[in-house]
Symmetry: C2
Subunit: 483 residues, 2 copies
């Protein structure tokens, strides 16, 4: 069976490689849809996801691990083949910076490229690839493809968190509030302390700002992976699931505060208490508004909406709420997935039980109606997350050593955070549920790199931490939950 899986996998990758390396249709005289190639890549990514999930299942692993790993492997194979869209994925920040210099500082395009490539300190092959990309006439088409796929993936992860929220009620979250707070606070304090001392111990010559930043990155929690594992195994009803989800939401707020404090300390040497206060107030107002809306206004607004479009109320109302909550979360500085999760918490099936006097509404359950959206878009997030990992960065002794040790304390810190909870809970599930750093860790690391605190080696080490914590969690959780 394993050999068959591997064969399949190789076949899949070969077909993908052929596909992705074929250049797009020439701009022909007829209508050329700028998004036709997005459809192609959407197809390829879904194809990869299906294969990845299948292999994962055969090896008794979780689906999300399969999607993530097949993305990583496909990326490792396609990147050396000079797949332009992949180069776009991995260098969005640099391309964006060129765009900024050209439009804001009136650099010529070639001058901006030279400056960026000189500053970015990439490996020679990577710099070469990026330069090739920049001079391709199809660059703008690749940017459209890259942006659209990123959008699909963004939509996918908020749909996933929304569906997770849908299975849980606000009451459940309140009930496990105390535990969530403990886990969130300890899950920030312990990894920070461990990270700080490891960094100080291994890199004694570097500035204190570096240690703080490395430590801060270890505090992050990305809930996407854990939420998906719980959902795939149908374990969202467990109290452990609610504690982890609540802690992850709190961690998002704590992360904002840490980032504000750390960036302040590193760049200006001071902590802005006003800024911290503003972050707090915004987050509290956001959650208060969500709770109030959920308890007082849901039913009424559903009835109002049903007057306008009764036939589709169960589809459009939840989706519209998801869009607006994800947006508002971003406005107050929180992650869009926190808003999406909140939107899911608000929505309750009962609120859609309308009397059928003024026309029919859908008879299917909310889950049946909304699941197809999640099924199409969510896998894209995990495959694309895998595609973005540049494995070639990781193979240096320094990176592996430092990254390995940081990973150990990163796991330890989150795991220990679950221990003080009351008996009867599966503390391992809670602790390991908090382990993946995912895209949140990447954001921290990216900021650290952009303000010049993390050099390339440290950045790569942190990426390794993000990768390892993200990849080891699904198999561990599957084991713990299946027991």
């Amino acid at each position: 069976m394993r050999i068959k899986s591997i064969l399949l996998f190789v076949m899949a990758l070969c077909s993908i490689a052929v596909f992705a390396s074929v250049d797009g249709p020439e701009a022909n005289a007829g209508h050329h849809d700028p998004f036709a190639r997005v459809f192609e890549f959407f197809f390829l990514i879904l194809f990869l996801a299906v294969i990845g999930r299948f292999i994962s299942k055969k090896l008794h692993q979780s689906a999300v691990l399969g999607e993530l790993l097949i993305g990583i492997v496909a990326g490792a194979i396609l990147y050396p083949l000079d797949t332009p869209v992949l180069t776009v994925f991995r260098n969005f920040d640099l391309i964006e910076e060129v765009g900024r210099m050209v439009t804001q500082e009136n650099f010529t395009y070639t001058a901006a490229i030279d400056v960026i490539l000189a500053e970015a300190d990439l490996k020679p092959e990577a710099a070469e690839k990026l330069r090739n990309l920049f001079v391709k006439p199809e660059l703008r088409e690749y940017l459209i493809i890259g942006n659209s796929i990123r959008f699909i993936s963004s939509l996918g992860i908020i749909l996933l968190l929304f569906m997770v929220g849908l299975e849980i009620s606000i009451g459940d979250m309140k009930k496990s509030g105390r535990e969530s707070i403990i886990v969130a606070l300890l899950g920030v304090i312990l990894p920070f302390a461990f990270g700080y001392f490891v960094s100080l111990w291994l890199l004694p010559d570097l500035d204190v700002g570096v240690h703080i930043f490395v430590a801060a990155t270890l505090c992050a929690t990305s809930i996407g992976i854990t939420a998906r594992v719980f959902k795939d195994l149908h374990k969202l009803y467990l109290p452990e699931a609610k504690i982890v989800l609540g802690a992850a939401v709190l961690d998002d707020i704590l992360g904002l505060i840490i980032l504000a404090v750390v960036t302040g300390v590193v760049t200006t040497g001071a902590i802005s208490l006003t800024e911290v206060a503003i972050i707090f107030v915004k987050a509290i107002v956001f959650f208060a508004a969500i709770l109030w809306f959920g308890s007082a206004l849901l039913k009424r607004t559903v009835v109002l909406f049903a007057r306008f479009d009764r036939a589709q109320v169960k589809l459009l109302y939840p989706f519209a709420l998801l869009m607006i909550c994800a947006y508002l979360a971003d406005v107050v500085g929180l992650a869009t997935i926190v808003g999406a999760f909140a939107a899911g918490l608000i929505i309750r099936e009962e609120a859609f039980h309308l009397s059928d006097t003024i026309g029919k509404s859908q008879k299917e359950s909310l889950e049946v109606i909304l699941a197809p959206l999640e099924g199409i878009f969510a896998p894209v997030f995990f495959v694309v997350m895998g595609l973005q990992v540049d494995t070639s960065l990781l193979f240096s002794w320094d990176v592996l050593m430092l990254g390995g040790i940081l990973t150990v304390v990163a796991v330890l810190g989150k795991w220990l955070a679950g221990l003080p909870l009351k008996k009867g809970l599966n503390k391992n599930v809670i602790g390991f549920g908090m382990v993946p750093r995912g895209e949140v860790g990447l954001i921290f690391a990216g900021i650290g790199k952009s303000i010049g605190v993390l050099d390339n080696m440290l950045f790569a080490a942190v990426i390794l931490v993000v990768l390892l914590t993200t990849v080891i969690t699904p198999p561990i959780l599957v084991r713990l939950l299946k027991k």
Copy 2:
């Protein structure tokens, strides 16, 4: 009731205006999702769509007309308010051209802007707005929003055509093949002839190339509007629906040939027979492949796919086929919607009736599973189509006169094309079903403008033809079909 509708409409627009004019969240220290504002606009567009449909229904009109008109009205109100995303929508070609000059010809950004604004010959207010947009630091964010919304709308229209195809079988299409060919051919010849002579008569001083191009634009058929009206009224089972859909598919091929011929004649003075032959061969190979796949391979590939992901085969297989067919249609030079329609024709519910020995597959019908995707994305296409109409272009005497007369012959040409069909068919439904020029007409007009054949006045007149033919069709079809 009408007053209530109008009040509602005004309320909706006011709230939208407030929303859209608020500037996005400042780039804060935390995670700022580049797509958060796309979610905001997605919400606003769905909101507009619901209001538009509701008003339309109250006035006994078709839903699609409501979406289209509310888009036009919202655009007319928001554009003067300097809504940057709208400016992006309406000037994608010019922005793209600036991008090309900067990246391909190493112009500085400001120099490129000056050249483009000087060449584009916009109205002073429009030029001013575009210049303001170009110097905004958030320009790149607006481009991401604009691109993402266009992607959503592109996905929406192919999902719609896919669902239309799903309700029809390949056999149905073959049965009405002869009629479709008659309607398609006459529907090209008559509007071309009428358009040519009207243009010659009204603008005797202009070049013959101009007359040819104006005439060619009138040949276009956009099937989106008609398909939506048939679908909303549950009339896709009528033979008339199949004739119109078949004729629209043929029209897409004919349109490509006309465009190749006309562009050749106008730019080089010669018709490239090779090019015409290539277009023909590509289209025939595409359709032959589709038919063969549909008859010989569907069931087998579904069974194969089900081995990999049985639980989601009814969701992922059709969606993946849609993606790949839309892409391949674009590769052979056809519209992505033609590929999407073909994908829908191929898919048959029976092919998904698998024995349940190796696990369960979804019990809901394909339509129930896929409808939510269409319900979310398709309305965006029509609202965005409305938003893109620049009504201020249309209010000049010359434009209204010329556009009005061309519209009359444009309608007449398509309507007459239905008359020679055999008795028993509702010839009016067929003729008027072919009337909307929609985005296909826009593509023709755009090419005409870019090769310098159509000046601003003629371009605006053609836009008026596109607009009027698109807007008058739904109410006429509703009347004819409800009789």
